[in-house]
């Protein structure tokens, strides 16, 4: 089994070497690919940001106010995500479409006079769908790190005169940072390479690098270029992740 695994990576790299330079030059200089790379990063970073931003108060609520219903809350959060990823993203297409559920619902209630178009087949739609789709992956790690905080530290900080806001920024946030970083990485890494969501709700303005990899593979029949694109995106993702972890370490050293 190890043999098999090592095998595909090895083989993959060898194959790359045979063709490398030209494909990489193309991958990094062609405006199309540059655009797709930067858009993928933009979408995925925005999604990461919003998901973590929304997940944090949720995790905070469960951890500090959940009482003996913590398990129930966590269970409730995860239920919708046991359904197929494909179907959930497809549902966003149905919801956000021009004659979709959201528009028709708002029209029906006469809250709007004509369908909203800014949430339709573009990056925004991809961001909304992904922010929804990855929510539990942010809530759970943040919740775990909040749970680990020794509650006596909070009392200590209160006794030493910290107000609630100061306490949050000086004690709770730094201590829960590992969870936040974990959440961010768990979301950032797979969303960069997401194929389904941009294809379903992204239209042409919301396509991401994974879609191009697939096109290069099947329709354009340029597997080496697709491979070069995959490796490049992997390297970029790894690079950003490392920068992120290092920045976090620097931030934590302040305390």
């Amino acid at each position: 089994m190890m043999f098999l695994l090592s095998f595909w990576t090895q083989d993959y790299l060898v194959l790359d070497k045979n063709f490398t330079l030209n494909n990489y030059i193309e991958a990094f200089t062609q405006p199309v690919y540059q655009l797709l790379f930067s858009r993928s990063l933009y979408i995925s970073l925005t999604v990461t940001f919003f998901t973590v931003l929304l997940a944090y108060p949720m995790a905070y609520f469960i951890s500090f106010y959940g009482g003996n219903r913590k398990a129930l809350w966590l269970f409730l959060i995860t239920i919708p995500f046991w359904t197929s990823y494909l179907l959930r993203m497809f549902l966003w297409k149905v919801i956000l479409g021009y004659n979709g559920v959201l528009n028709s619902f708002l029209l029906w209630l006469e809250m709007i006079s004509e369908p909203l178009t800014f949430i339709l087949y573009n990056s925004n739609a991809v961001i909304i769908a992904l922010t929804h789709g990855w929510a539990p992956f942010a809530i759970l790690p943040i919740f775990v790190s909040l749970e680990k905080i020794d509650r006596s530290l909070l009392e200590a900080s209160r006794d030493l005169g910290d107000g609630p806001i100061k306490q949050f920024f000086r004690v709770i946030l730094p201590l829960s940072m590992p969870g936040v970083v974990g959440a961010a990485l768990i979301i950032f890494i797979p969303t960069v390479g997401d194929y389904i969501t941009p294809k379903l709700v992204g239209g042409t303005d919301g396509l991401m690098i994974a879609n191009m990899i697939q096109v290069q593979f099947s329709k354009a029949n340029n597997a080496p270029l697709a491979a070069a694109l995959s490796v490049s995106s992997l390297v970029i993702v790894a690079f950003i992740s490392i920068v992120f972890v290092l920045l976090n370490k620097k931030y934590l050293r302040k305390y």
């Binding site: 595909w8 995500f81 197929s84 179907l87 028709s104 990899i213 593979f217």
Partner: protein, 265 residues
């Protein structure tokens, strides 16, 4: 609960509604009689569910998916059990490295796993069929299976094993009669989780399948036909129910695994 607590609670409930909204649409629209997925609702029908009964390609895809899910979860669980058994009991050079390596697919974007597997298969001149999908899914499930089995093996008291050996059991007999029954719930949990993951997985299957499609690939092809939308919704409703049942079972076995350990000790 202070004022901030109340705000947080309101936020939490709103967020929960946001999380549930899409999934709730499935049952609503799978019983709606209009072909267009939009409000207002037009009437109640079970016709979309009936239509599912007559789709030959669907049945074929379902059969393929079940074959793939069953075989890849079995393979991944066997390999995962062996891997976590060796890593939790023995030390060998490169252990940490190989474990990290096996767990790698967990953090790789799926499309990259799919692409690289496809390249390897093409290079080897292997045909693309259901077995290539099984291979891909085995690779995908194995990290999960290893994580589940690791916790099962770590909870296992080594003295039970030693006792059995001292009492004259052969190593194989010990494995079969002592270790296996104790980690059995972990194995069940791994099988069920793997089965569900594989049943749901789209990208790897999309890349590696030949002419035979799996269920998600079939659903993907349905998206192109607006006429098929309500049927797709009906299918989705059924799938949700099935994965809910499977995952509750998996959770049940996981809990029982934890309980068995404590009651034995």
């Amino acid at each position: 609960m202070g004022r901030s607590g109340k705000f947080l609670k309101i936020f939490a409930v709103t967020y929960l509604i946001f999380l549930y909204a899409p999934a709730l649409l499935l049952p609503i629209f799978s019983f709606n009689s209009s072909q267009i997925i939009a409000f207002p609702l037009s009437g109640f029908t079970t016709g979309w569910f009936k239509a599912l009964l007559y789709q030959e390609t669907l049945h074929e895809a379902l059969k393929n998916s079940l074959i793939v899910a069953a075989s890849s979860s079995v393979f991944a669980t066997i390999l995962g059990t062996l891997a976590s058994r060796s890593s939790s009991r023995y030390n060998f050079p490169g252990k940490q490295f190989s474990l990290t390596f096996i767990l790698a697919p967990l953090v790789l974007p799926e499309i990259i796993v799919g692409v690289s597997l496809l390249i390897v298969l093409i290079q080897l001149g292997l045909p693309l069929n259901l077995w290539s999908v099984v291979l891909g899914h085995t690779l995908l499930i194995m990290p999960f299976s290893i994580l589940i089995m690791n916790s099962a093996f770590n909870n296992l008291d080594i003295s039970l094993e030693e006792a059995s050996l001292d009492l004259g059991e052969t190593p194989i007999g010990t494995f079969r009669r002592v270790i296996l029954p104790l980690v059995y719930p972990g194995i069940m949990a791994s099988l069920l989780l793997g089965f569900t993951l594989s049943l749901d997985e789209f990208i790897i299957a999309f890349f590696l399948t030949g002419t035979e499609t799996t269920l998600p690939v079939y659903i993907w092809s349905l998206f192109r036909f607006p006429k098929q939308l309500p049927t797709t919704m009906a299918l989705g409703t059924i799938l949700i129910l099935v994965s809910l049942i499977l995952l509750s079972l998996s959770e049940y076995f996981r809990r029982r695994a934890a309980k068995t350990q404590t009651s034995v000790l």
